[in-house]
Amino acid sequence: MSTLVRQLGSGETMIFDKVKRELFIVSKGERATTIDDARKLHSEGRASMFTKSQLGAINSALSHIVLLGE
């Protein structure tokens, strides 16, 4: 499986391309089940795309949140 598809609590759909390590967040109400759907919606402005380095930046910005202790 080279794609991970998951529904988020916000109603958006998260689609992760495991090969390119790009994450698509498809807006609520849009239908997308494959990476091709996500890319098409992204080109139409109905999905956002985040590259590996952008995901890394988000992780860094959230590094102050520790799930358990330290």
Binding site: L8, S48, Q54, A61, L68, G69
Partner: protein, 438 residues
């Protein structure tokens, strides 16, 4: 299911049924534990759940020895698939429906055990098994004498086609906090307190940590509830860790409360944390924790692999050395109860990291694929954490949050318990109460 007319065949079939019913009871009972907000009760319930899973393991061992039965691969039966039952409307536990279902399964367990006892006592060949059969069902599920044991449930065959881990159902979407806590500040603006060697920071740290420990308990139980196709040992490990974490939640909350008098003795009377603590001890206030609660949505949105990597392997694995050092910290030397708590936590963290490693290996036997799974989970951790910031507002969405956190415009978060600019602090300053602020 065709059942042999010979006592041995009937016993074997009944034992399989008893095993399956008890396993279903245990997996349904995970919802009772997750739904319990009071940490002391949650800890007791988690310990009971562990007993039930261990009873199933005893049944499995007995079945293997007496009947050469193969090991269980756990799956929901079609008759009791929670996805088809109304126990989780809108992702929330319907306690009434759940309790009714649990009672039905419990009665079926009693009926099956009674039937096994009848077979044993009516056959000279198996009469010596009667006490064993009696001991198979854990005490917490034993039928009181005179209670009608009957079953409306047909035999519940395990779905044997599922041999790999698969998410069969989705568990509760929310987990509540102990009534001691109040959601006061957002992690979008403030850092939660971190472990420190000083009382002023460590007391709020301990009570905040208590909420996170409860979340890990819920996360483990969520995995046990949701995932089919794994051996019984997986569910036992999840139940063991859940019981440990629920015990830690109580331990750290008790520790914070125990240290509060020492904190008050060393703090100025108008110190903001001291005011919070005094109000809590008076019974007029609650302990402030993040508005995002215990970060449960992060784990709810994660897959089993991601949970194992993010929690057991990365978080707990990386905490081991820090906890080991904390055992020798000056705070631990001053307060023996702190030292004991860190020791308990240290050994449990080591065990939990092993649990994570064991099951990630099971899911990804190939080392290269395992490494990839770890990298992917680490990469997706941010988006999973951001789901904790979603509100009930219809416009709240992950895209906006990702855009915001992906830019460099955000100022670094402050520590709530050190921040003089919070409305509470300004209120205190207005009444001349800022001098003692840490």
């Amino acid at each position: 299911m065709a059942t042999s007319s010979k006592p041995i065949g009937r016993l074997k079939a009944r034992l399989a049924e008893l095993c399956t019913l008890t396993l279903h009871y245990a997996r349904l009972f995970t919802l009772v534990v997750i739904d319990e907000s009071e940490y002391r009760k949650k800890s007791q319930l988690a310990a009971r759940l562990l007993d039930i899973f261990q009873a199933v393991a005893n049944m499995e061992r007995w079945a293997a020895r007496q009947f050469h039965s193969s090991s269980l691969i756990v799956s929901w039966s079609d008759h009791l698939d929670p996805g088809k039952l109304d126990i989780l409307p809108n992702g929330r536990v319907d306690q009434e429906a759940l309790q009714a279902l649990l009672e039905e399964v419990w009665r079926a367990i009693g009926a099956t055990q009674a039937s096994m006892m009848d077979i044993c006592s009516s056959s000279r060949e198996f009469v010596h098994w009667t006490p064993i059969v009696k001991s198979l069902v854990p005490a917490c599920l034993s039928m009181p004498s005179g209670f009608a044991a009957f079953s409306r449930i047909d035999f519940l065959p395990q779905n044997k086609t599922i041999r790999t881990a698969i998410k069969r159902v989705t568990g509760p979407c929310a987990s509540s906090l102990d009534p001691s806590f109040s959601r006061e500040y957002s992690l979008q603006d403030y850092m939660a307190p971190v472990r420190a060697d000083s009382l002023d920071l460590v007391v709020p740290y301990f009570w905040t940590l208590s909420t996170r420990e409860a979340m890990v308990c819920d996360s483990c139980l969520l995995s046990s509830f949701e995932y089919d196709g794994l051996p019984l040992r997986f569910h036992q490990d999840m139940a063991q860790q859940a019981a440990d974490e629920a015990r830690h939640a109580v331990m750290y909350l008790d520790l914070a409360i125990e240290l509060m008098p020492a904190y008050l003795a060393s703090a100025n009377a108008d110190d903001r944390t001291a005011i919070i603590i005094r109000e809590f001890l008076d019974g007029t206030g609650r302990l402030p924790v993040p508005k995002e609660g215990n970060l449960y949505p992060c784990m709810w949105h994660a897959s089993l692999e991601e949970r194992l990597v993010i929690m057991q392997i990365a978080t707990e694995g990386e905490a081991v050395s820090a906890t080991r050092r904390a055992i020798d910290s000056s705070l631990a030397q001053t307060f023996p109860s702190v030292k004991r708590a860190f020791e308990v936590d240290y050994y449990d963290e080591v065990a939990h990291t092993r649990i994570g490693t064991r099951w990630l290996r099971h899911l990804r036997p190939d080392a290269r694929l395992r490494k990839t799974a770890i990298e992917e989970a680490a990469l997706l951790k941010g988006v999973l954490l951001l789901t904790c910031f979603l509100s009930d507002d219809d416009r709240s969405n992950v895209t906006t949050l990702m855009d915001r956190y992906g830019s460099d415009e955000r100022a670094g978060p402050r520590t709530f318990f050190l921040d003089r600019s919070t409305p509470e602090c300004q209120r205190d300053q207005g009444r001349g109460g800022s001098q003692g602020f840490p």
